[in-house]
């Protein structure tokens, strides 16, 4: 793989008795989107804020762009852009003024108009911050983080509280960041977000990494079972014995990925032979959400 931008080895963080992060290790490569996925309270923000230099670690080794972030060196801050989980912006400056103010802190900077374009706020460039919607302010957060032309961007739950439309827009913003060569460290508790954006994912629960890898193969996802569901009309005969009856009457069949085609063929053949209509037939590949719920021990949905 390419150059290591973030290196974390056996990171631990305790708050008094509580050990929020219990020995995690991972690396982030230049140019990738790296997502840390986990439920609230899993240790995502603690880890992120250690990498950003806001918190000190209890134990372990951390390197960000070759620096120890705990030293809070200006040379490191000049190369990093941070979007915190919740932050305010001075309400009385305009979008352009705000970005220019922050850009001025950095030795290198991207043209303000370009930054505004990347986050899709061109039409709002002369609007005061207090006249922006929540989603627009969040995009301005990203623009501020981009103003100093950082190599690495931290995005801590960038779309929490967004409506679906705003999330889509935000995702395109992140895609744009990758297109201009940035490395992105993202935390999220949305599976679809990690799946759509990330090159690699670590799943964290209770301060430990429970799985890591590309979203498509995380936790041996290709080995997980395909789910076939359908309904039967009243009085129809029951098909093969592997079919389970769910409480709502839906029939479900879980099969290994490798045998999906054959099983579907057998099932439809059986239905034709018996003149039975397979109502609401549905074949679903396992989603990252299934994996996630299984790994983080959350209540399993249907």
């Amino acid at each position: 793989m390419g150059e290591r931008v973030v290196e974390v080895h056996d990171l631990r963080k305790s708050y008094g008795e509580l050990e929020a992060v219990r020995g995690i290790s991972f690396d982030v490569d230049r140019g990738e989107v790296f997502a840390m996925l986990g439920p609230n309270g899993a240790g995502k923000t603690t880890t992120t804020e250690i990498l950003e230099g806001y918190r000190t670690r209890s134990a372990g080794d951390v390197k960000v762009l070759g620096h120890d972030p705990a030293r809070r060196e200006r040379a490191l801050k000049e190369r990093v852009g941070i979007v915190l989980q919740s932050t305010g912006i001075d309400p009385f400056l305009t979008v352009t003024e705000t970005i220019e103010m922050y850009a001025g802190y950095y030795p290198s900077r991207r043209p303000t108009a370009e930054v505004i374009e990347v986050v899709g706020l061109t039409e709002k460039r002369d609007t005061r911050v207090n006249k922006l919607s929540g989603g627009q302010q969040r995009r301005l957060d990203v623009a501020i983080a981009l103003a100093g032309d950082p190599e690495l961007l931290f995005l801590d739950e960038p779309t929490t509280g967004f409506d679906p439309n705003a999330r889509r827009t935000a995702w395109e913003v992140v895609k744009n960041l990758v297109a201009i060569g940035k490395t992105v460290f993202l935390t999220t508790h949305f599976m679809d977000e990690a799946q759509y954006l990330a090159d690699r994912v670590v799943v964290i629960a209770d301060g430990l990494i429970v799985a890591q890898g590309p979203p498509a193969s995380i936790a041996g996802r290709e080995q997980m079972q395909t789910r076939i569901r359908f309904r039967l009309p009243d009085g129809a005969p029951e098909p093969a014995d592997r079919v389970q009856r769910l409480p709502d009457g839906t029939r479900e069949l879980r099969v290994d990925a490798g045998e999906t085609t054959r099983i579907v063929h057998d099932l439809t053949g059986w239905a034709l032979d018996h003149g039975v209509e397979l109502e609401a037939l549905e074949i679903s590949l396992p989603t990252l959400e299934d994996v996630y719920l299984q790994l983080t021990g959350s209540e399993v949905g249907t």
């Binding site: 950003e52 230099g53 806001y54 200006r74 801050k77 000049e78 990093v80 941070i82 915190l84 919740s86 932050t87 305010g88 912006i89 001075d90 009385f92 400056l93 003024e97 103010m101 922050y102 001025g104 802190y105 950095y106 030795p107 005061r128 501020i144 100093g148």
Partner: protein, 258 residues
Amino acid sequence: MNDVALTARQVRYTNRAFWRNPQAAFFTFAFPLMFLVIFTALLGGGTVTIHGLEFNQSTYYVAGMSAFAIITACYTNLAISVTFQRDAGILKRTRGTPLPGSDYLTARVIHAVLIAVLLVAICASFGAAFYNASIPTGIGLVRTIVVVLVGAASFAALGLALTGGIPNADAAPPVVNATILPLLFISGVFIPIGDNVPKWVDVVGNVFPVRHLVDAFLGAYYGKPFFDFSWGDVAVVALWGVAGLVVAARTFSWEPRR
């Protein structure tokens, strides 16, 4: 950019944002003038005896309100607005940029001092125009400038120090007022402290910096024989300022308190 350029630039942005909030800006300026007019209207006809000399109360209030102007701009406003920025996460965001925290806070203090200078100038001009107060010249002017700068910087340091003890933005106005209002009353800002006040008011008032700021203004504005200027008053105010700076350096928080 070096620290001086960064700080100067930050002062300009702070100033721009300040004037974009017209209500806040208006009342920052209107408050001391309003009190000047009200107190003078209510009590202005009378006199107060200080150190055996009779003082015209309208003249007295120009000095009192100059002190009040400094406290409003540098202590009250700065403490409330910095706490608000801390709670809103603006300070935390700034902390994540290469801008040194000291540059950011210095810019906030310089801006508060500039507002205080403007306020005192307005108070003095208003007093000269309507209440026959004289605008100091010569040594009086030099003393006034020193009092304004030392007073403003010291109360700004105390304002920053206080933020460490304010749990959240909602608590900021009551905490700030609870710390300053009693002092404003016992230090001669609102009510002239004559020779016949209770002894304890005199003693307690002299411990804190507000009384000394008022006396320094009286001395700088009027001088002998009315009110003798004392560098001791300026020194007490400055000492409080240094103490504020030390406390602020130890307790200042860049992140919201939870």
